[in-house]
Amino acid sequence: MKKSQLLKYILTVLFLALGITMLFPLLWMISTSFKVEADVFEFPVKLIPSRSNGFDNYRQVWGKGYNFALYYWNSIKIAVASTVLQVFLSSLGAYGFSKIRWKWRDRIFMLYLATMMIPSQVTLISRFLILREIHLYNTHLGLIIMASFSVYGVFLLRQNMMQIPESLSESARIDGANHWQIYSGIIMPLVKPAVATLAILKFVWTWNDYQNPLVFLNTRELFTIPLGIKEFASETGTFYSLNMAAAVCAIIPLIIVFLFGQRYIVDGITSGAVKE
């Protein structure tokens, strides 16, 4: 008994060290974002900078030349709008596919499922052509509309709605409630955890999304954070401390979302959600 207890302590120390190693690149990023440029590569690495230039670094990143505030605003706008829209449309769809009986329901749902394994690269170029055709290329609206539908969202919420006993909505139906009332008054409150999971995952994915904005946006003023940082990094090249300050700003909101919504994120990915 004593021996296994000792082993547990040793493993705990070992794994805490491992965890810190995993976090090291991010800790280094935060520390470097506060450094004077000349100190960036001092070795051995000092995580607490000997002289700090943090205020100035962050001021430059958020200042006029770099426009980080604008990228931030663009990212928030796109991530929030696509999340809200997708959750709403997915929940409507999920309800239609689980709580109403109608003729082609299951066939259409099978069609949805059949497209699930098609990689986004297959549709990417045609989506670009379609957006150009309907004059939504290089607009936020185009990106948001495109992100507002996902088979995965419908699938996840449908799974959850299927688990709600049929009798619940049927008795409401007999009492004269229409489908909108059942959807908003009975079903939605019951699938709140799944809705939260979908919303948080969708927000994180959209916030981090690089490929879609890269292909569907062209003007700098419309860029989201990932595009903005990449642009900044290739322009300023060796201003590493500034690049790190920018990276910190991109990651902070995610860490906050993660700390508050960890349970939902873990629920989502353990039930089979993968980055789109």
């Binding site: 491992l18 949805y112 690269q121 150009r132 292909v215 990094a233």
Partner: protein
């Protein structure tokens, strides 16, 4: 009468999403399939589309950049996924019941997965800086003579990306494995410990076999995900030096939006789909064998 109303309501509920599905999933798939048989530069307008039959698919065999990308894709998968699966399983096993503070450690391992890929790549780019970067300074302090040039070397660029990818994905594998472990009843472990089985024996004789549905799921998901790797390549190397880090998803993008080969890029996309399709088919075949139900 009543059924008619149900049908109407059903259609109304799915309609908004269905329109999105039609325009941004269904139609693009059909378009892409058609375009994969054509020679076209979209800048020249719809009239310039030339149907060329199987010509694009024939061209693949002589396209060196395509072959390199395909081989790189396979190498990338082989170098990342087994590591993630094996480390993920061992770490999950230890974190789950052999350490204190397991929640804290799990979170520490998982944070890289949540962080934005582009931001993380910018950070690693600096860490891998060949002359003064912390990684090489560390190797130097260990006495390594011939320091790798990482992202700017043909030999090391892909390895650098493999390291970043594993670092980012490992937390995901750990979390899903830990969820799998929760479904193994603790009675089995108790019985094993009463019989005097050591941790190692328990791990190999009980945990590994009972986790196989999770292992299977993660392997398939991991392989498919690694086939689609794009962000890292686009941010860090643009496929270079030479074609040493080009992968299918990157080549599709390059062919479509840098070389304006609208037809051929779709052909490449269907090859990527074919790869994923094969993996999915194998998954379906094997699923029966591994599923618990």
């Amino acid at each position: 009468m009543n059924q008619k109303r149900e049908t109407r309501d059903g259609i109304l509920f799915i309609l908004p999403g269905f329109i999105g599905f039609l325009f941004f999933v269904f139609l693009p798939v059909i378009m892409s399939l058609y375009l994969s048989f054509t020679d076209w530069n979209f800048l020249e307008g719809v009239k310039a589309i030339k149907f060329t039959g199987l010509q694009n698919y024939g061209k693949l065999a002589s396209d060196q950049w395509f072959k390199d990308s395909l081989v790189n894709n396979l190498k990338f998968t082989v170098e990342t996924i087994p590591v993630c699966v094996i480390l993920g399983m061992i770490f999950a096993y230890i974190i789950d019941r052999h350490i204190f503070l397991s929640k804290t450690v799990r979170t520490m391992m998982f944070v890289p997965y949540i962080a934005s890929t582009v931001a993380v790549c910018i950070v690693w780019m600096v860490l891998f800086q060949p002359s003064y970067g912390p990684v090489n300074m560390f190797l130097k302090s260990l006495g390594v003579q011939d320091l790798p040039k990482w992202l700017s070397s043909k030999k090391w660029a892909m390895r650098a990306i493999v390291i970043i990818y594993i670092w980012q994905e490992l937390g995901y594998f750990i979390i899903v494995f830990m969820a799998g472990l929760k479904s193994i009843s603790s009675d089995i472990y108790e019985a094993a410990s009463i019989d005097g089985a050591s941790s190692a024996v328990t791990f190999f004789k009980i945990t590994v076999p009972l986790l196989s549905p999770t292992t299977f799921f993660l392997s398939v998901m991991g392989i498919i995900g690694s086939f689609k790797v794009f962000d890292h390549i686009s941010v860090l190397t643009q496929g270079g030096p030479g074609s040493s880090t080009s992968v299918m998803a990157f080549y599709i993008y390059k062919a479509a939006f840098e070389q304006y080969k609208t037809g051929y890029s779709n052909t490449l996309a269907w090859v990527l789909f074919a790869l994923i399709f094969i993996v999915t088919m194998i998954q379906w075949k094997l699923q029966k064998k591994y599923s618990n139900e």
